[in-house]
């Protein structure tokens, strides 16, 4: 099967500001991909490049094997839900479904109506009168109702309260489960995505720091505590992501693509949240894009 998203040295520049630099990715199909990074890291840019709203200034990107936004067929295969879930305030909920039905060849009206009913939305309600959570759900319904092969969601839960977050993600998973839809969703908080995504991309200051299957990524990283030493003193094959030293002790977060060798240290696995935070904190210290090595290693 073709990759969900394949990017080679992808770059995007707005004037002199680099929004995305040298991004190389190959996301295999059938995943729910979490795209994590601090605000302004380039997550929105990457998603907009993937749906064809932006054209890259350097490098190349294909989505489901085709150039993003290259025509009606490609548009039909990719759904996009923008940040803050924009909807037409003067159109009713039912009008939004009609919009989807008129503009998409594979529109699933039954699914869309059922979802609206499930959510308890009044079809006659103007979308401008909906709460933030309801608006996000409506926008998700429109994006999912066209039955895309890939659904791109930009910070879908950022503006929602915790309960609405859980509801939204639950509905999202229900919507995509039946259809083998791949999903890429971004957030600046890994805790939002931890439960749903099985593939992880960490993006910090316009560069990809980490990309891979969630369980492989967590399996490859450890926190090791040992007597005080320099990172160079660790065995080859251990990439040091972060290092902290006290008078007598050193704590490293390391990545090893082979099982962690035994040594004179105490090793413990890292939770996804710790792992992502480590990458975000140490972004400036390790300018080397980690994916490059990961690609080679694979």
């Amino acid at each position: 099967m073709t990759a969900i998203l394949e990017a080679h040295a992808l770059g995007m520049q707005y004037g002199r500001r680099r929004a995305l630099t040298d991004c190389t990715l190959n996301i295999p199909p059938g995943h729910v991909v979490g795209l994590v990074g601090p605000n302004g890291a380039g997550k929105s840019t990457l998603l907009k490049l993937a749906c064809g709203l932006l054209t890259p200034t350097s490098g190349s990107i294909t989505v489901l094997g085709e150039t993003p936004g290259s025509g009606r067929e490609q548009l039909a295969r990719v759904g996009f839900l923008a940040q803050d879930a924009p909807v037409y305030p003067h159109l009713s909920v039912a009008d939004h479904l009609r919009l989807g039905a008129h503009l998409n060849p594979r529109w699933d009206q039954g699914f869309a109506e059922q979802r609206v009913a499930q959510l308890g939305l009044d079809p006659a309600q103007k979308a401008g009168k909906l709460s933030g959570g309801q608006r996000a759900q409506l926008a998700l319904t429109v994006a999912a109702g066209k039955r895309p092969e890939l659904l791109l969601l930009d910070e879908p839960v950022a503006s929602l309260d915790p309960l609405a977050r859980r509801e939204f993600l639950k509905h999202l998973m229900e919507s995509v489960a039946d259809n083998d839809t791949s999903v890429i969703l971004s957030s600046h908080l890994i805790s939002d995505l931890e439960r749903v995504c099985d593939y992880l991309i960490v993006l910090v200051s316009s560069r990809v720091r980490l990309a891979g299957e969630a369980d492989e990524v967590t399996a490859a990283h450890h926190r090791i505590v040992c007597t005080r030493r320099e990172p160079d003193a660790l065995p080859a094959g251990l990439h040091v992501i972060s290092a902290e030293h006290t008078d007598r002790q050193s704590t490293f977060v390391v990545r090893s693509d082979t099982p962690l060798p035994a040594g004179d240290w105490a090793a413990e696995p890292l939770g996804m949240e710790d792992l992502v935070l480590t990458y975000m904190e140490n972004a400036e210290a390790s300018p080397r894009p980690v994916t490059r090595d990961a690609e080679v290693a694979r």
């Binding site: 803050d84 924009p86 037409y88």
Partner: protein, 349 residues
């Protein structure tokens, strides 16, 4: 796409239709009254067979309708601007501002097609709106236009026949373009108004008089020609030029008139006409009333000086070519802007 365009544009369409209907009712009622008065006046002219009374009657009618005429011409000239501001500018800018372009441009419809349907449908609505209001206006004002014979006047030209249709298409696409470039609705609306007014000024003042070749004739100054003159101005200084306002042929557009020239083609100083001027003044105050033009005796006095005036004008039959050329110019500008929008929207996000 057509459904969505209609759904988003429904309120505006109905509002425009209601306003047009109200304007139509007003124009049809007052236009019919105007026609009645006009034919009644003409009838009494013929029975009384007095030219003076006739001119007076028709003058009265014109004066009576001057206010409404000005207002209605203003309305017809404002229609394209309103179309540009309220239909054109928000078309893309409002989507960009609300972020709804992210939703609509990610349905299975390319941005090019989205824009094409929206532009075509609302440009058509703009043409229909301007067409209806211009048609009504042209019908309403035709008795007044016949009386004044001044079809080339700025308001009379800009608010009749086909040019308003060209203005409307241009203003609409201008609004769309500025909305796409500025990306915010209110500034785009303001910019649309400013640019539209600037273009109208430029075309009316600079382009229109020069777009077709004008005719220049030499009119001698004698009793016959001077009896038609509307004005005769001497300069304060005796060395200054003498200007005479001689009428151009009926229905034509007078573009420029030279000062009084001698047989060598040189402007004459005021001192040369002082004798005749003083003669005229000594006969008492001038009264210009109705069709009465009192400069005939002055012309007779000036005739031996062998003076003439060069008058250039556009003949009456240039009216329709000029209307079509100007309409075509605005439509061409609109097409250029539309082409720019199609290029630009592919790179817009």
């Amino acid at each position: 796409m057509i459904w969505l365009t209609w759904r988003q544009f429904r309120t505006q369409t109905l509002l425009a239709a209601a306003l047009l209907a109200a304007a139509a009712v007003y124009l049809l009622i007052t236009g019919t009254q105007l026609r009645h008065s006009y034919s009644a006046d003409l009838l009494s002219c013929q029975t009384q067979s007095s030219q003076y009374t006739c001119a007076g009657l028709l003058n009265g009618l014109q004066t009576q309708y001057n206010g409404p005429l000005d207002l209605l011409e203003l309305l017809v000239m404002a229609t394209p601007a309103l179309v540009g501001i309220f239909w054109g500018a928000p078309l893309i800018a409002a989507e960009l501002e609300r972020g709804t372009h992210y939703m609509v441009w990610n349905q299975s419809v390319t941005r090019g097609r989205w824009l094409a349907v929206k532009l075509a449908a609302i440009a058509l609505a703009s043409i229909v709106t301007a067409g209806v209001i211009s048609l009504l206006m042209t019908w309403w004002a035709s008795p007044l236009d016949t009386m004044s014979g001044n079809r080339f006047g700025t308001q009379a030209f800009n608010a009749r026949n086909v040019v308003p249709l060209g203005y409307a298409v241009f203003a609409f696409v201008l609004g769309v373009t500025l909305g796409l470039v500025i990306r915010r609705t209110l500034p785009a609306m303001a910019a649309t108004l400013a640019v539209f007014i600037a273009v109208q000024f430029l075309v009316t003042i600079v382009v229109r008089p020069n777009v077709m070749p004008s005719t220049t004739i030499t009119m001698p100054i004698n009793q016959t020609t001077m009896s038609q003159a509307a004005r005769f101005d001497r300069s304060q200084a005796v060395t200054g030029p003498v200007t005479i306002d001689l009428p151009t042929p009926a229905g034509s557009w007078g573009l420029s008139e030279s000062p009084a020239l001698n047989s060598a083609g040189q402007p004459i100083p005021t001192s040369e006409v002082l004798t005749c001027w003083n003669q005229m003044i000594s006969r008492g105050p001038l009264v210009i009333k109705g069709g009465n033009k009192p400069f005939g005796p002055l012309g007779a006095c000036l005739a031996p000086l062998n003076l003439h005036v060069d008058v250039s004008y556009l003949p009456a039959d240039r009216y329709w070519p000029l209307q079509w050329i100007e309409t075509a110019l605005y439509v061409a500008l609109a097409a250029l802007l539309a082409a720019f929008c199609f290029r630009r929207i592919r790179r817009s996000s």
